[in-house]
């Protein structure tokens, strides 16, 4: 099914704590079975984003980057599965990350998920994190949120929950 151009929300984060805070605000909208795909360069804040969201979902264990583990599961009010496809070479290798990834009773965060779009469900939230100034690691982060499939119905709620971070887009691509 061809997809209409997905709705996009652009946010601005002042740093790691701000990224965690906005992810926590977004987490209030997450439900079992949701899939959030994250992309952005090393240090852009993908893991910070998952840390903030997971804590808001009741995860008490410390969330760490799954780059070497490939996938990690966390117990919470809503279980969280955090995967990373960075080390994979083929789309189908995502299945090696286990059956908990994309399960109906967890929230799945998948780093670099946009690289394996053909494997992802059509209903998903895509988050892209960018350095506002690529030369400056301490620069603000610009986050583009794209709602796909049934996530479109949550676009207005997302904009409301994330209103404090909705920022100017002048530097974004």
């Amino acid at each position: 099914m061809p997809e209409d151009r997905p709705a996009r929300i652009t946010l601005r984060s002042g740093g790691p704590d701000d990224t965690r805070a906005l992810a926590a605000a977004l987490a209030s909208l997450l439900r079992p079975g949701d899939v959030v795909s994250l992309s952005g360069e090393l240090g852009a804040g993908k893991t910070c984003f998952v840390q903030g969201a997971a804590q808001a979902l009741g995860v008490t264990e410390r969330v760490t980057s799954p780059t070497f583990m490939l996938v990690k599961s966390y117990a919470g009010d809503l279980p969280v599965v955090h995967g990373d496809v960075y080390r994979l070479d083929r789309v189908r290798d995502v299945e090696d990350l286990g059956d908990e990834l994309l399960a109906a009773d967890v929230v799945t965060f998948l780093e670099w998920g946009d690289a394996v779009r053909s494997f992802l469900p059509p209903d998903r939230l895509e988050v892209e994190l960018l350095l506002d100034d690529p030369e400056d690691i301490d620069a603000d982060r610009v986050l583009h949120l794209e709602v796909h499939g049934t996530w479109a119905a949550r676009a207005a709620d997302l904009a409301t929950a994330l209103a404090p971070w909705v920022g100017p887009t002048a530097h974004a691509c």
């Binding site: 099914m1 360069e41 090393l42 980057s65 780059t67 990373d84 496809v85 960075y86 080390r87 994979l88 070479d89 083929r90 789309v91 189908r92 299945e95 090696d96 286990g98 059956d99 908990e100 994309l102 399960a103 109906a104 009773d105 780093e111 670099w112 690289a115 394996v116 053909s118 494997f119 992802l120 469900p121 059509p122 209903d123 499939g149």
Partner: protein, 244 residues
Amino acid sequence: MGRTDGARVLILAIESSTPRSSVALAERDVVVASASLGVPQRHGEFLGPALQFCLEQAGASVGDVTGVAVGVGPGLFTGLRVGIATAQTFAAARSLPVVGLSGLDVLAFRSRHVGRLVCTALDARRRELFWAFYRQAPGGMQQVAEPQVGDAGELAAEIAAQGGDCLVVGDGGLRYGDELAAAGADLAGPADAWPDAADLAQLAVPRFLREETHEPQSLQPIYLRRADARIGWQERGRMHGGAG
């Protein structure tokens, strides 16, 4: 116990291709023990203890098992492979024959007394289903077309093309019930939502008796999805050598 003529036939059945794993032991056509898992996705931690439990309940030992049946999908990739690997290891260690059966066939077997077209449909995630159609035939159910993967709209169109007179069985039918019912299908209840090892054992026993079996290493999971693709990291500008 079943018939007493002939040698002992004790079949171990392992079905872990869906969120609901199960293990069963059948003495000829009688299921003598079974265990199933309500909590999804913990195949690896479940199969070993479940196997032990079934042997204890049946008063049997590992050495009494004469064949291993296993569900070969389509289904959840990791569960499927854990099940197949467990069956292969068990069978290879004792030089036992194996039978691999599709979960869609096992699910259809449950509806073998339904005198109409049966469609078994399992949730394939990503808004897709695995499905196959069956008709009653002497001694069981006969698949009437190759199994497929697709979305609920495609399955609904197939059901409509069959005239809509069809019973849909499986968790895919439960999940996409509205769309399938609109095409005219009737939906089976949640009791028959997943293939079960007890049914797998019963369906497999005649194959062991007829010696329609395989070598353990020849078992292959059924994979219905389209061909694999390489991830275009270079085109995406992945920073090679970085920690991600």
